[in-house]
Symmetry: C2
């Protein structure tokens, strides 16, 4: 395997140094501990949005820091949760007095470390709420996960909640919004090839010359099944129908209850997709798949949605939540209402997502 | 090799169908002959900008059709020039009475077919000027090229000339501007892996497990040298110094002379980069290289430019002119003046490049 890197141990720092050099008007980088934050933070009176997770999914999350999206992103080592001190220091840097929403992908390490960071921040007088994203319909539990994994809906939640924060929503309202986005978003991915972690330089998993992995995780975790390579149309159909025809999904998540001052169990149930729903269709590259192939996937997805009575009213097509150099794609469908559409359309200016300004 | 495609012979059409389905607000697609055009074309009184070339370099060119950039793009078969009838029909569709500038990458087939299309359009009363892009410092002549190949500067020329057209520049002024961008832009690329053309499904060229190709062409044409894999920093240095320390480059190109009513030879000389120059730095993925690695390249490029006294005042980082699934990158430096900066910053709204709106 070959990569454009220097020493593997410098991969993340040098990536951040490159971002800092490229986008001084959007972002700044703190290196010890590592986090990327809005150049104009803290913004007094605005709820701050923080996300983070293992590196290797670029541009998520650091590429989404900026006006109308994240206030800070905390990158862990490759495919490894960031540590609580990263989130704590980021929270202190971007807190504008209106509280902080942490958008957390449902992986055990991330969940635990964000909860610890939340408690540390609270002990320093900063209001923090955490909302989990667990949108991957592929598997119930996984290598690093209790319950479903958090994948593509994370990008959409960061955009929508970032817009809400920019427009002055308060912390509780943004937390409710983020939970609403999560239960209305569902995703599934697939891999043509493995990814290769820089520190190892051997493929994370083996996949035959004519094999694909359906339901792949963004760290190369096993999916639902290994299949023979088939057409883009059949792959799209398998992904899209897994999402659209998914059963009701009920789970209990831990969220901080501000009134009670303690962690409470909250039961979440995803609504089903129904004829007439308006959706955002997100076709994502796993990193190594070029955009020409994504449009071939989108073509079939649009046809399937039309047949199923789902109206695609917004879309996002490109590499946004990746798995290093993995070839493959994922599909996310998010049920939209007028408020989500308005927030999706709102101006955003980050290194990797920009419109309206 | 595995790809997300259906039948290889449907690759381009299905890619276009996906684009049409995804971006009906930006673009429309004509299939026989194939071209992508602005949904709001023709725009009366505005110069129209057309580009095109072989497919396989997505998002270039179709992803750059829209407000502030291209009026139409003509995709050929993969790595194969479009035919004159594509350009002619596109010209007729987007002509708003103020003439058409064709931005042509310097490959023999493209040059010949765009010249033929120009003559056909003129015979139908449409004013057309062609400007060549030949910015690749890697090799003097190449597999498909007399003189230098046209690569990354094409993207920048399309953005800048598109903005000029949007702002009401006349045809001659835009042609002069495009020529100016071309002589002020220089590029070089490299490959970690080959690309694979869908119709063949075997790599276009062989590259060993520890080998890289410096100066690769965007169709996999041989570059300057094959080397052992080295660090991102050394690769960046080789690319950047090849560009910055390039000798003066003189060549004669054919351009249509409207006053004389015939093709004339024009001598072009590229100015050298000099201390104090302001530049746009463009770090491009060949398709399979993720953005994390591009930032590692950018980091070193910024350091080299600073040492050389070049001030990076704008940048573009991502997959914009690709070679299917090839892993690797290219660097383009474009010397900027106030006018180019203003036009670069102007609003653009296309499927793959968007800001300011």
């Amino acid at each position: 395997m070959k990569k454009l890197i220097n020493k593997p141990e410098d991969f993340i720092r040098e990536n951040l140094e490159g971002m800092a050099a490229a986008h001084p008007d959007f972002i700044k980088v703190n290196y010890e501990p590592a986090f990327v934050y809005r150049a104009d933070a803290p913004i007094q009176g605005k709820v701050a949005i923080i996300s983070g997770g293992g590196s290797g999914h670029e541009p998520m999350h650091a590429g989404f820091v900026g006006m109308g999206m994240l206030d800070a992103a905390c990158p862990g080592e490759v495919f490894t949760s960031p540590t609580p001190d990263q989130m704590l220091e980021a929270a202190k840097r971007v807190d504008g007095g209106a509280g902080i929403l942490c958008i957390v992908k449902n992986y055990s390490g991330d969940v635990m470390n964000f909860e610890m960071a939340t408690e540390l921040a609270r002990s320093e007088g900063i209001r923090v709420l955490n909302i989990l994203i667990d949108d991957d319909v592929a598997v119930k539990d996984s290598l690093y996960t209790q319950g479903r994994r958090g994948v593509g809906t994370t990008v959409l939640a960061e955009k929508i909640c970032g817009a809400a924060a920019q427009q002055g929503y308060d912390l509780q309202k943004i937390a409710d919004l983020c939970r609403f986005v999560n239960i209305n978003g569902r995703s599934m991915g697939m891999a043509l090839t493995s990814c290769t972690v820089p520190a190892r330089m051997t493929p994370t998993f083996e996949l035959g010359d004519r094999e694909i992995e359906m339901g792949i995780g963004i760290h190369g975790e096993p999916g639902r099944q290994r299949k023979s390579l088939t057409s883009a149309d059949e792959i799209t159909e398998m992904l899209a129908l897994s999402i659209i025809e998914d059963s009701p999904y009920t789970r209990t998540v831990r969220e901080w209850d501000e009134e009670q001052g303690e962690w409470m169990d909250v039961e979440l149930i995803d609504p089903l997709f129904q004829q007439g729903d308006r959706v955002l269709a997100f076709v994502n590259s796993m990193g190594g798949t070029p955009i020409s192939e994504l449009y071939i996937i989108y073509r079939k997805l649009a046809e399937i949605c039309e047949k199923k009575g789902l109206q695609i009213v917004r879309n996002l097509i490109g590499p946004y939540i990746t798995s290093l150099d993995m070839q493959g794609c994922s599909i996310t469908l998010l049920k939209l209402d007028d408020e989500l559409i308005r927030l999706w359309d709102a101006p955003v200016k980050t290194p990797s997502l920009q419109w309206g300004v």
